[in-house]
């Protein structure tokens, strides 16, 4: 089989690269394509083999040579546009369309999961993270009419490497994953950063690294300017997300999905529970993780060492126990192709 994996963001490029490596290891041919990334990136990921704007992709001659296309776009609304344009062109040219597969890279739950599915309904195969997501989709689509064409759903695990790239550092290191728009309350992100600064000042033997989990421009500063920064609080340089996740003692975030990597790699997770379990804070997805704490319950950084690891049963349900995602994909695609053969 020849695969084309299309992506448009740092996390998506990285996931496609990992998937391509695994599929090639299984003897498949893989091409990665995607949009160029702008600004500083948290991940150090090589560019896709083919750099192209999404709007130009459906008509690209490369698409005539592939048997399956994986769509991993940040905004699932774009998937519908691609499918419409691509399948429309195939139909006009009298050519069969390649099998399309797609899915949210991060484990979604509840409203976010069903909203995501509703935007991917034109795909032939849907990938979700864990058994939790697969079961939820079964309930959420209960008794739907055939006319809605729900694609088969398989769970393929997480989007990041199964093993950490390095061991934790000897000196304690807290990695704080800072999100672009969460917490949503005005000024709350600055307040969180001030808290980190205050913790760092209290315990100079710790290093606190603040790491954006999204792209950023070189001119934007992260820390609020009103508090003098302590020496042991450092902003992470671009491209350091994965090695820092591997090196950290503990990883703190409100709801960054990258905290799942810290959980899987055995680092102490802290999901900030101060903003409650709310859809708008993306914290509903962390219900049950066993790592949600209020900041006021952590008096100082040394107290972090006493916090529990993530709830393993929950983590496995979200996809941690799936280690053969690409094989599952290959099997499901082969079944689909066999089914569709005349």
């Amino acid at each position: 089989m020849t695969f084309l994996l299309i992506s448009d963001g740092g996390m998506e490029h990285s996931a496609c690269l990992l998937m391509a490596e695994a599929l090639e290891h299984q003897g498949q041919r893989c091409i990665t394509a995607g949009t160029p990334l702008l600004g500083h990136q948290p991940l150090d990921t090589p560019a896709p083999q083919l750099t192209i704007e999404l709007a130009q992709l459906p008509a690209h001659p490369l698409l005539e040579q592939v048997s399956a296309i994986g769509l991993f776009l940040q905004n699932p609304e774009q998937i519908q546009y691609f499918i419409k344009a691509y399948q429309g062109l195939c139909s006009a040219r009298g050519r069969p369309a390649a099998t399309l597969f797609s899915g949210p890279l991060v484990p979604l739950v509840g409203d976010a999961l069903i909203r995501d599915l509703s935007l991917r309904l034109g795909c032939d195969l849907l990938l979700v993270s864990g058994e939790n997501q697969r079961r939820q989709l079964q309930s959420l689509t209960f008794n739907w009419p055939k006319s809605l064409c729900i694609p088969p759903v398989i769970s393929t695990g997480f989007w990041f490497p199964q093993a950490a790239p390095c061991a934790p550092t000897q000196q304690p290191l807290l990695l704080a994953l800072i999100q672009e728009q969460i917490p949503t309350h005005m000024g709350a992100r600055d307040q969180l950063l001030r808290q980190l600064n205050s913790w760092a000042r209290q315990r100079p033997n710790w290093t606190v690294m603040v790491q954006r989990d999204h792209s950023w421009s070189a001119t934007t500063t992260l820390m609020p300017s009103d508090a003098p920064l302590t020496d042991n609080l450092v902003e992470a340089a671009p491209g350091q997300l994965l090695p820092l996740l591997g090196a950290c003692t503990a990883c703190l975030t409100v709801s960054s999905p990258w905290s799942l990597a810290a959980m899987v790699w055995g680092r102490i997770p802290i999901i900030v529970g101060d903003y409650g379990i709310h859809d708008e804070q993306n914290t509903t997805g962390f219900f049950g993780c066993g790592a949600m704490h209020r900041l006021r319950s952590i008096p100082h950084l040394d107290a972090i060492r006493e916090l529990p690891m993530a709830n393993q049963a929950w983590l496995d349900e979200m996809g941690a126990d799936i280690t053969d995602g690409p094989m599952r994909l290959l099997t499901a695609l082969s079944e689909l192709i066999l089914r569709d053969e005349p």
């Binding site: 005005m186 859809d279 219900f287 006021r296 529990p308």
Partner: protein
């Protein structure tokens, strides 16, 4: 002694504020039961609560109007066997926390209003720790079980109370003998955009024109000036006017109570209202509108499996639809919680069984804070209690967390500054200046 007096007695208080929550209370106390239930309703005053609904409740039990703060201070709360709380998230927490401080307390239960279309996880996280959570049917029960599996909340007790909200009627006319009438049950925020709301009105108008021997009635969710949980930007009467100018003569608004309309109508159409199930109670046929597509934010994904998810645009006319006799899929009805096996009676029986047992405390495990103590309002109320008892350290902590959540909230910032003053005189003055009565 009368037969009534010999039956087991249950004293139940139901607390609610908005109209949809009061409707949920009304449905509960309509349940047939072998128990002798004394109902009391505590209504938290709110502008625009429909008077007709309050009058109906007053006929069923004792009706009180009390602010939440007044209610929490009311010593009569302890005299009930059970208290049912039908309020929004943070208030659910306020009542649970206030009562769980007592060594002996009534059983606490809560529920959802009608079909839960979205925010289920958020809603459940506010309700965990109640002695009983009422759910509609297997759909909600399965979602909750999946959510709490492997967590300290795994043993949360639930009871299925179903979606049959109206007492059985013996005087219902067979559909064929009813007026040729379709009722559209409007929802205030579904659909939400003015263009989609206009589209629905246009679809109804076109269907009315294609069906001149039928009446199409739009039943507004609320009358102009009344209020519900959600704010209404443009009342449906305005949308009707702005969309059609002059509607066809067989399309009009009707403000009569929904049960009155449903008893006389042959058909009900809705996007995703719980009125779908009320219609079935009144022997009316139902369809869910699919013209806006599968929009999960409007709950369309829930009704897509109903077996009667239909496009108004493709219905030739209402005679054709009527002749077809649309009927929801029984499998789906059972999944949702509509059927004789699901009834609020199950709640009353469970309460009666548990009323002499000591209620379980809420499980508290590190790493699972849920939504308890995460409400901004609650943090402020907690801080006020701490201030009243001179517990400055707790007051500072609670206000610090509230300030973390809303750093730009001036009231909290002032109060936070006040409790940080170490000079007692200065602190007292600062507290006086920064005082606000928190409702």
């Amino acid at each position: 002694m009368t037969a009534t007096a010999s039956r087991p007695t249950l004293n139940v208080l139901l607390i609610a504020d908005s109209d949809s929550q009061l409707l949920a209370c009304e449905a509960l106390c309509s349940a047939p039961t072998a128990l002798n239930v004394h109902w009391t309703f505590s209504v938290i005053p709110r502008d625009g609560t429909p008077q007709a609904l309050l009058l109906r409740l007053a006929q069923r039990g004792r009706l009180r109007h009390q602010s939440l703060a007044g209610l929490l201070r009311d010593s009569r709360l302890q005299s009930f066997d059970a208290i049912g709380v039908f309020l929004t998230g943070s208030k659910l927490n306020d009542i649970r926390l206030a009562l769980q401080r007592e060594r002996r307390r009534p059983l606490l239960f809560c529920g959802f209003n009608g079909v839960v279309l979205d925010h289920f996880i958020e809603g459940v996280s506010w309700r965990l720790g109640y002695d009983l959570i009422c759910l509609s049917g297997p759909r909600d029960q399965q979602a909750l079980a999946q959510l709490v599996a492997g967590t300290p909340f795994e043993h949360q007790r639930t009871v299925l109370t179903g979606l049959r909200r109206n007492a059985p009627n013996s005087d219902l006319l067979p559909v064929a003998q009813r007026l040729r009438r379709l009722v559209f049950a409007e929802q205030v925020i579904m659909p939400a955009t003015s263009s989609e709301r206009a589209r629905v009105v246009r679809l109804l108008s076109d269907l009315a024109r294609r069906s001149p021997n039928w009446e199409v009635l739009i039943k507004p969710r609320i009358a102009p000036g009344d209020a519900t949980f959600h704010d209404v930007e443009t009342h449906i009467s305005t949308t009707l006017q702005q969309t059609l100018g002059v509607p066809p003569s067989n399309l009009r608004l009707d403000y009569r109570p929904l049960p009155v309309l449903l008893k006389q109508a042959r058909l009900l159409a809705t996007l995703s209202s719980t009125a779908f199930f009320d219609a079935l109670d009144f022997g009316c046929r139902t369809i869910a509108i699919s013209d806006l597509g599968l929009q999960p934010n409007y709950g369309c994904h829930v009704y897509a499996g109903s077996g009667v998810w239909r496009s108004l645009e493709v219905i030739p006319n209402l005679d054709a639809l009527d002749a077809e006799g649309p009927s929801p899929d029984p499998l789906w009805l059972e999944w949702m919680g509509y059927g004789n096996q699901f009834s609020p009676s199950a709640l009353l029986e469970a309460l009666n069984e548990q009323k002499h047992q000591t209620p379980n405390p809420i499980p508290s495990t590190i790493g699972y804070p849920g939504n308890a103590q995460s409400s901004f309002n609650q943090l402020r109320l907690g801080a006020e209690s701490a201030i009243a008892s001179g517990d400055w350290s707790s007051a500072r902590e609670l206000l610090c967390q509230a300030a973390l959540m809303r750093p730009l909230h001036r009231g909290v910032a002032r109060r936070h500054w006040a409790v940080h003053q170490t000079n007692p005189l200065l602190r007292r003055i600062a507290l006086l200046i920064s005082y606000r009565d928190l409702k």
